[in-house]
Amino acid sequence: MSEFEPKIVAFFCNWCTYLAADLAGTSRMKYAPNTRVIRVMCSGRVDPQFILEAFARGADGVLIGGCHPNDCHYQEGNYKALRRFYALKEIVRQMGIEDERLRLEWISAAEGERVKIVVNDMVGKIRALGPLRPKPQQEVTA
């Protein structure tokens, strides 16, 4: 069997982290091909439902990327993202999903290297954890 390839859904804000990922590209940095980036205007747009939907649909990890504190293109959207993130983190933990699978990173437009580091690190950690749903759950049911 081939090695488990985690699938990570990433929500990157348009102004910082998406641009950082663009920069990683123009700088030809190489990183793991496991993320699927969904562009939103601000990390504040990331509805916790999106994250749960991703987990429910089979994502092994979810990464949110936003501008650094004080640097939000929309002033404070990232703070709202941060509050929701911590609350959701607790919900996700209660639901038996490991911490490493949900991650929030502040990555500025200049930090292409950080995209590479974060993605590789996250892929490594999730690879070690294994799939979120190893196989279709065998439950006691009809």
């Binding site: 102004w15 990922a21 504040g44 709202k80 437009a109």
Partner: protein, 664 residues
């Protein structure tokens, strides 16, 4: 514009970008895969979709196949979203029926495994196909542009931008932090490679700024608040007190003459501390405005309140001196902003092994600019701090540049100004001059020729990074000298060169407070801290914030010709914006779905722009479309999902999520 009724027919276009994408992503496979997806009517690959034939291909398909949704898998939407929207629009389809998939920056350029990269592209295209099917016809907003422009920084970049705009008939506010405009260029003696005198070419421009009817000059002032958006920036400028009324002062300088301090005794910042000034002083003879300034740190009246105030007496009935002056807040509205805040020279004491601040005869290049300047502290006589005249000088290049321990970047101007200083020092002192360089970088008009000229003048060039400047002497020839220890990489030997004077050619770096300025204007910085342009090639003076442009060294180190050219470009961009009269805005605003709104007001405090108002009579929230900037924070916060965001509707994002995961 087509509202695209009827069944969804999607066209998918996969770009090779030459080999940029095709070398890693199997574009044909992606196109084949896309063809198998529901609602996809046409799927093609093409070598350069952004080219005119590429765009025409899409337009032709829209006509021939009745396509009403388009997916373009190519580069970053930051690069070509507007290109493909325009292409789609030209064919009569609403431009917002197009969605881009980034398979270059986010895929082919960062991955190597062809199978995995292709699988990723398939996932992303599938998500886009599902998303685009839900996309709706939208129209752009229109914002009127206020014709005024704010120029921040009064160095050569700001001066040139302000003059260009003012000459085109625009009202300009020029804000400078220092008491005089002129910036670093005003401190230079000659300019390379033509050796024309910096003051001669700069000071007439400075005077023109002051005299121009379209320019309001506020020196000793800072921008302390920026609100609003392209076309309508509300800017707060704080004008710090200079304790002399600019309108009443005639610039006679009798107050300076009359100061109770008969001798100047405080370090003169303009001369890098190499000379002294009084507590009341004119920054430099050609300062604009020609109005002195009082330094409350050193003025006896401010320190004790018991000065004889001979300055006030000297000013007599003009009464321009005002010890009670307070800062003044000015509030202006402008349509565009040019940021030209410049650079700061690298602090040479951060390289301890070069002995700056330890050995008095180690100078920075900017100090030497003043030293060789006829209007400098010594009247152009090169006298060392210990009173001697140097018989030998070592010029060390790349101090605080190309160095992993300080700044990694090349500061671009140091090779040339080091050559210039070598020339000037030789001219002034006839000393033996040694230039220590890593590489000689002379890629400008007349630059290499200037280098050749220096070689012919007998200036020594030693290729090697100086290890240290020290005062320990091995033999009598080194006594009382500064010794430069260096590996001469052309000779392949370690040398000790004793000299009387060392010049450190310091690099250029962002201002220490560049981060705060960046936040103030809501623009981005590159990793080294210089302000980030929207695109290095295609939008080099634009920022990611519409209506804000960059000029000069705040964007990166550059010489005077490049700075002036960039300032002209920034002014032209600002002019183009203003003369358009109005600008179209992205339709990515949030909107309340009224029948679902319970009036809970969760959204109201989410908005930093006060775009959301609670309509008490209706009991519902309402979003002012012109104020909304489209972050979507309120959308995520709305507990009844009663707020949508154009282009980023919940349903569209859910489709994307499900799309990327559909093969899990």
């Amino acid at each position: 514009m087509s509202e695209a009724g009827g069944p969804v027919r999607i066209g998918v276009y996969v770009c090779h970008c030459g080999t940029n994408i095709a070398a890693v992503v199997g574009c044909g496979e992606v196109a084949d895969y896309a063809r198998s997806l529901a609602q996809v009517a046409v799927s093609r690959e093409y070598k350069y979709l952004c080219s005119e034939p590429g765009q025409e291909l899409i337009r032709q398909d829209i006509r021939d196949h009745g396509l009403n949704r388009i997916v373009v898998a190519s580069c970053s939407p930051h690069l070509h979203e507007h290109t493909f929207r325009a292409a789609v629009e030209k064919s009569g389809l609403n431009p917002f029926f197009m969605h881009m998939v980034n398979i270059r920056e986010h895929n082919s350029w960062v991955h190597e495994d062809r199978a995995k990269a292709t699988a990723k592209a398939n996932d992303m295209v599938r998500a886009a196909v599902r998303r685009v099917a839900l996309q709706q016809s939208l129209s752009r907003g229109r914002v009127e542009i206020n014709p005024g422009v704010l120029v921040v920084g009064g160095g050569i970049a700001g001066i040139h931008a302000a003059m260009t705009l003012a000459n085109a008939g625009k009202k300009v506010h020029l804000v400078e932090r220092q008491p005089s405009i002129g910036g670093h260029m005003a401190m230079f003696d000659k300019t390379f490679p033509t050796l024309d005198c910096a003051a001669c070419i700069l000071t007439p421009k400075m005077s023109s700024v002051k005299a121009h009817p379209n320019i309001t000059l506020w020196s000793n002032a800072e921008v302390t608040g920026v609100a609003g958006y392209v076309g309508n920036f509300d800017v707060k400028v704080t004008r710090w007190p200079r304790y002399i009324d600019e309108d009443l002062c005639t610039g006679c300088l009798q107050c300076v003459e009359a100061c109770v301090y008969k001798e100047a005794r405080f370090p003169d910042g303009f001369n890098m501390g190499l000379s002294k000034r009084k507590p009341i002083y004119l920054p430099f003879p050609q300062a604009v405005p020609q109005v002195p300034v009082i330094d409350p740190e050193t003025c006896i009246q401010f320190k004790t309140g018991k000065c004889k105030k001979t300055c006030v007496a000297a000013c007599a009935d003009r009464q321009a001196i005002d010890f009670q002056q307070k800062e003044k807040i000015e509030q202006i509205r402008v349509g565009a902003i040019v940021i030209a805040t410049g650079f700061q020279p690298f602090d040479a004491s951060r390289v301890p092994y070069y002995g700056y601040g330890v050995y008095p005869n180690v100078y920075t290049s900017l100090e030497v600019e003043r030293l060789v300047n006829a209007s400098g502290p010594t009247g152009g006589d090169v006298v060392l701090r210990d009173g001697r005249r140097p018989k030998s000088v070592g010029v060390i290049h790349c101090v605080g540049s190309r160095d992993v321990d300080s700044n990694r970047w090349c500061s671009r101007v140091c090779c040339m100004y080091s050559l210039k200083l070598a020339h000037l020092l030789k001219e002034h002192t006839d000393a033996e001059i040694f230039n220590f360089y890593i590489d000689m970088r002379t890629p400008g008009k007349g630059f290499e020729e200037f280098y050749q000229k220096l070689l012919n003048e007998g200036v020594h060039f030693i290729r090697g990074r100086v290890a240290e400047v020290t005062d320990w002497a091995l033999d009598p020839t080194e006594e009382d000298k500064l010794v430069l220890r260096v590996e001469d990489t052309l000779l392949g030997t370690v040398r000790r060169i004793p000299v009387d004077m060392v010049v450190l050619s310091v690099g250029l770096e962002p201002h220490a407070d560049a981060g705060e300025v960046r936040r103030l204007f809501n623009i981005s910085c590159a990793s080294e801290g210089f302000f980030l342009e929207r695109h290095p090639k295609l939008a080099p003076v634009n920022t990611f914030t519409d209506g804000i442009f960059l000029a000069g060294c705040c964007q990166g180190p550059k010489d005077i010709p490049d700075t002036v050219a960039q300032a002209g470009a920034a002014a032209a961009e600002a002019l183009a914006l203003i003369d358009a009269g109005a600008v179209e805005t992205e339709p990515n605003t949030a909107h309340v779905i009224e029948e679902s709104c319970s009036g809970c007001r969760t959204c109201v405090p989410m908005c930093p722009y006060n775009a959301i108002v609670f309509d008490a009579a209706a009991g519902r929230a309402r979003i002012e479309q012109v104020l909304c900037k489209g972050c979507g924070t309120c959308v995520a916060a709305c507990p009844s999902a009663a707020i949508g965001q154009h282009l980023f509707e919940d349903a569209e994002i859910f489709e994307e999520i499900e799309g990327v995961l559909a093969n899990v």
